[in-house]
Amino acid sequence: MSLYLLRRLGQSLILLVLVSLIGFALIHLAPGGPLAQFTLTPGMSSADLARIAHQMGLDRPLPVQYWEWFRRLLIGDWGLSYRDNQPVLAVIGSHVPATLELMISSTLIAVLIGTWVGVLGALRRYSIFDYLATIGAMIALSLPTFWFGLVVIYAFSVKLGWLPAGGMYTVGDGSLLDYAHHLIGPAMVLALVTVAIWSRYMRSSMLEVTSQDFVRTATAKGLPRRVVIIRHALRNALLPMITLMGLQLPTLLGGALVTETIFTWPGMGRLFLDSIGYRDYPVVMGLLMFTALLVLIGNLTADMLYALYDPRIRLD
């Protein structure tokens, strides 16, 4: 087991270095740079821009800039944001709570509802419920989030006044109730798509399991239907979901760009987009490495949990 872990660790490190190289090359291939935002600023001349570029070390050859960044990363220095000069980890860290709040709540809602809808759909295959659930899933998957989000705000905030028009909390308030009130809109919109996906996965997984021999055996033995479904079928149907959960980890901390923009939610998705737009290289690289780490950890955790849960699997 420990040999397995060591091997995975080694693979992960090589992958991370590769990701950083490719990421670095790609963002520098994109034309423009961190100083492009100042071109039209009144009062800043091109002489000023050239001087600042030199002061920031942006005129050094790219391999030198990469090595500087990599060397610092090795000793734990993720660099400073070009925009507010804050340490990159602090910048990323400051967006984590908001992101987790939104992603965890929406994922929880989505998983709970999605599982229930999927299981029921599988058990009552081709019933009205199943058809409605299928069509509902298709609609939910096709709805563009930016449109749906605005519709929700328009209906529930502007017209009905039930929900706030965006933001994470009301300045001056800050109570738990206030936070929850602001969370409803974005969490529901985000959950909608995930519910659709989960319910489909759950349904097909459940269908596959219920057609297996051991389920027929359990029923033949005279076990109550509820026990067959929950103790035997569902347990096995959840197996592929574990892998999916693990793959969800980077999404949990990656945020949801469109929802965050529409609902003015200060999450990681927006941070990523803003950093790229402003060519804030240290933060972009930091986010890249962060996400890559999460993907690797997520995969590893999923594999280990799977092995724990399913005695047929042996990791080696």
Binding site: A30, P31, G32, G33, L35, A36, Q37, F38, T39, L40, T41, P42, G43, M44, S45, S46, A47, D48, L49, A50, R51, I52, Q55, M56, L80, S81, R83, D84, N85, Q86, V91, S94, H95, A98, L150, I153, Y154, S157, V158, G161, P164, A165, G166, G167, M168, V171, G172, T261, I262, F263, T264, P266, G267, R270, L271, D274, G277, Y278, R279
Partner: protein, 521 residues
């Protein structure tokens, strides 16, 4: 109206939530920043003097603005003497003094410090602190725009930044201490910044207890929050033109289409084989349907212009010839200049086609519509304009700075605060593609213009500068290196009852005077 008579409260009361579609991230006012950042700087810091909406200097940390008339500036423009206000304290209670002014000016010129501009400041030497309330220095050469540059130069505290290991990354930059009407309270990165009233502010106000700058990246979401009242004022980038008609009908809201210092133009690269011909530029200008662009695409909100200065500037020339939309005249000019219709209706002369590319920021739908209109209008006279747009980070990088374009549709504020000095935009020495230093990306070269620019920059009396700049605008209007279209209108909304809001072309953000805002009860 009862509201107009409402007086400000005796104690700072209430709060204002300002919605911004870009996030302020730079809080050291001397470092590279964009407009939204300046909107915050105006409230936390103060310059020696600022400019009011009428373009007049108003002393702030100084007791009077130095001029030749009051002896603050010597006859030759080289010796400056500034008298400072006494009794001013920094937000942390430390008294302000001339040492802070000396420190600020020296920091800007410090080779290790990433000052956003050294324009003007690099002329300053021999700074002497005569007393805590008096400072003198010498300019290496007389530079008229310097008073304007100082109106945008916020003074920073020596007792904090002077002790920092590296002023570029000092903790001060994220917890600034200034002398302005509001103190720094907190920042949630990516979300908002909160300022609270400075009870010891030396000037009038502040009348608000708290100001919140809230980052709302989506303009539709910003408008919605304005509608529901979640934001009290839509700052940069305000309300889009297509929402204007809806916005003015909102109950309990005031919508202002205020003037902006930014002017929109088609800026041309004068080395382009077709565009280098004055006749071509004149013809293109005659064939520009400005009225349709302004009325149909921009909802009639901006004002047509013939120059690069806003009409509110003291140097604005109101007598420039007005553009006329005359397609027949345009064709006439081209025929007379030898541009004959060739293949596909596109004119040619000496083997050169009247064909060029026009670029602007991709994703700017309104500009794209304007481009399409121009494309059609110019096709009529036999000019082929091709549209090639790119993201902001691309087009306003080397493509623009190194004159790689044929023509661009650009909005620019070419003033320096209230000063009309546009040397970096029109001087023949300001073309980077030719090894110069500046923003003359058009590669425009007119010795008369160079002469006028030099005169304007070294003449200190405003009354003497006016005729110089009027002539400058006249020459540029004749040469048409850029085709001026309109002066921007900034459409911004405030909640009814919010007093004190005053749009100004002399600042980059209309939150410059939040220290004077209050709620009429």
């Amino acid at each position: 109206m009862a509201q107009a008579a409402a007086k400000p409260p005796s104690k700072p009361t209430g709060q204002v939530i300002i919605g911004l579609s870009q996030e302020p991230t730079v809080f050291n006012p001397l470092m590279p920043h964009i407009e939204v950042d300046q909107g915050v700087h105006w409230n936390v810091f103060t310059p020696l003097w600022n400019v009011n909406a009428q373009g007049q200097f108003v002393p702030q940390l100084a007791t009077e603005v130095p001029t030749i008339g009051n002896g603050g500036i010597s006859e030759d423009g080289l010796e400056w003497r500034v008298k400072l206000r006494s009794g001013v304290v920094w937000h942390d209670g430390t008294p302000f003094s001339a040492d802070d002014v000396k420190f600020t000016l020296e920091l800007i010129n410090n080779p290790h410090f990433r000052a956003y501009t050294r324009n003007g400041h690099e002329q300053v030497t021999d700074i002497k602190v005569v007393s805590p309330t008096e400072i003198t220095w010498r300019m290496k050469k007389s530079y008229a725009p310097y008073a304007s540059i100082l109106s945008w130069t916020f003074i920073v505290p020596q007792h904090i930044l002077g002790k920092a290991d590296d002023p570029n990354t000092a903790p001060f930059n994220n917890a600034p201490v200034g002398t302005g009407p509001f103190k720094w309270s907190e920042r949630m990165p990516g979300d908002h910044i909160t300022l609270v009233a400075n009870e010891h502010f030396f000037g009038t106000g502040p009348y608000l207890e708290r100001v919140v700058f809230h980052y709302v990246p989506d303009l539709t979401a910003l408008f919605t929050q304005f509608q529901t009242g979640a934001v009290d004022y839509t700052g940069i980038q305000g309300i889009t033109a297509d929402h204007y008609n809806e916005a003015v009908k909102l109950p309990g809201r005031n919508v202002t289409a205020g003037p902006s210092g930014t002017c929109e133009s088609i800026t041309m690269n004068l080395t382009h084989p077709a565009l280098r011909d004055l006749a071509v530029r004149q013809a293109l200008y005659y064939a520009m349907d400005k009225k349709s662009i302004i009325d149909a695409i921009y909802y009639g909100l901006p004002k047509p212009t013939e120059t690069f200065l806003p009409s509110q500037s003291w140097a604005y020339n109101p007598d420039l010839p007005k553009q006329v939309y005359d397609v027949a005249k345009a064709k006439q000019i081209l025929d007379a200049a030898g541009w004959k219709p060739g293949a596909g209706g596109i004119r040619e002369k000496g083997g050169v086609k009247l064909s060029f590319i026009n670029s602007t920021t991709a994703g700017n739908h309104v500009r794209e519509q304007a481009q399409e209109l121009l494309q059609q209008s110019w096709k009529e006279i036999g000019a082929d304009m091709q549209i090639k747009n790119m993201p902001a980070a691309v087009i306003w990088g080397d493509y623009y700075n190194m004159s790689k374009y044929d023509s661009v549709m650009v909005g620019q504020n070419e003033m320096t605060g209230p000063d009309p000095d546009v040397t970096i935009y029109y001087s023949s020495k300001a073309t980077m593609a030719k090894g110069g230093s500046g923003q003359n990306t058009m590669e425009y070269d007119n010795p008369k213009v160079d002469e006028l620019l030099a005169q304007g920059a070294t003449t200190l009396e405003q009354s003497k500068r006016i005729p110089i700049y009027r002539e400058l605008q006249s020459v540029i209007r004749q040469d048409l290196p850029m085709l001026p279209i309109f002066q921007y209108a900034r459409i911004e909304g405030t909640k009814k009852g919010l007093m004190g809001y005053e749009p100004s072309v002399y600042v980059q953000a209309n939150s410059w005077n939040v220290g004077q805002w209050y709620w009429a009860t």
